[in-house]
Subunit: 226 residues, 2 copies
DNA sequence: GTCGCGCTTCTTGCATACAAGATTGAAATG
DNA sequence: CATTTCAATCTTGTATGCAAGAAGCGCGAC
């Protein structure tokens, strides 16, 4: 059941039920899952390889609290990945568009009901769902991990994330994809992720973002913006 | 020493000293490293999370033999990542250009000396070195893992890889970066990785590539080619 | 010779035992 | 009362033991 433990813990992170910095006791998890520490450690080791948790020697396992640098890295990587995918992708098929539309509809419902746990999940899953259309499991897994890390960033830095603004961005990206304008979709996606990152960083420290953008040499807007 | 075990095994894969399909016995590795099976299993678990090895239950651990689909995924992801990075990156600084030039020089030496083990490593490391200039550890780690998987693909499918052709491509990409033409660099990188993939697939099955390109919806050339 | 069956051996799966550092709390001392 | 120190406890780190399935091999039957 080691994969089940990893998946369960990851789901808890993705849905925001486990906060960054939480301690994960091997013994408690072992008891909760009804297995020995061995399997728990295996699952935690896998999650550590994905930068979801980390172990402090002889102290314990903790859900990572992404530093500002880490946060910038994750967002930059997400932008690169999704932009690179969309800009080079063939226009989506009807079925693929329908799949995305179904997601957008779910988002809208969650916004209406103000279901925050579900929104947390859906906001990241939108981007996973986009790259999922490639059928590229490697790409999807990478994006899934980044989305999980993004949640930890949001939970740490963002007191109250503006789900409505994100949802509107998602709708705009969806509409560009739906009309076959992948170039616009790529650009909108890039800008959307920049905005989300900026919103989070402003919550923390007003000028932190400029500092970080200099660290990572990725602050040039894609063609068609400046 | 679990990290050391993982790093050692990964290095062996990256340098082509361990072939895809090789069996990795927990007992033998434990003896070789002078530790118990526990630490070996931890290292193997980490490598499994990176798709470098896999375990067949009750049978053993094996270095992955990437399927044609997997190979296509890895190349597609590399293209997306590197294209997305370069197209959005600011022009490189003098120091960054010098770093890449040093790598190109190393490649040239290895080509001259026909040092195949070193070439195997350098061919993948070039792309790692490019994204390294971002200072984005997340991005670098992702690319590093993909480069390792690419080596397994080459070793499995490519009887004799044309290092000279790849080197020339690398030089062209470097020159584009050096003159600050990131757009050209991105395009050249994309095409280079396409060519390498095509070369490998042709060795295997002449028409396999078309089949695969249809599976992944990523066969559109970036702007400026078709 | 060839096919099939069973035993032996080798493999990983998982639990457990013990070691050793980190933490916490209480007791003793100033 | 404050502070310090030591012991009890809790944490992970690593090795080991045992179970269970897979594979290889030899022997016997046909």
């Amino acid at each position: 059941m080691p994969r089940g433990i990893e998946a369960t813990l990851l789901a808890a992170v993705v849905e925001g039920r486990i906060k960054p910095g939480s301690k994960l006791s091997e013994n408690q998890l072992a008891e909760a899952f009804g297995v020995s520490r061995t399997l728990v450690r295996e699952a935690l080791t896998r999650l550590e390889a994905r930068n979801i948790v980390l172990v402090q020697p002889r102290k314990g396992w903790f859900v990572v609290e992404p530093s500002a640098e880490e946060a910038a890295e994750v967002y930059a990587t997400r932008r690169i990945l999704e932009y690179g995918f969309l800009i080079n992708a063939a226009p989506f098929t009807e079925a693929q568009i329908a799949d995305l539309q179904a997601h957008i509809e779910e988002e809208r419902k969650a916004v209406d009901q103000n279901d925050k746990t579900r929104l947390t999940y859906l906001m990241g899953d939108f981007h996973v769902r986009i790259v999922k259309q490639s059928g590229n499991a490697t790409l999807v897994e990478t994006m899934r991990t980044l989305a999980a890390r993004t949640n930890l960033i949001s939970l740490r830095y963002q007191s109250e994330h503006n789900a409505l603004a994100s949802h509107k961005d998602h709708v705009a990206i969806f509409e560009a994809i739906a009309r076959g304008d992948m170039k616009a979709a790529a650009r909108l996606s890039y800008e959307h992720l920049e905005d989300v990152e900026a919103g989070i960083m402003i919550d923390t420290s007003p000028n932190a973002i400029d500092l970080l953008k200099n660290t990572l040499r990725l602050d040039e807007a894609p063609n068609g913006r400046g």
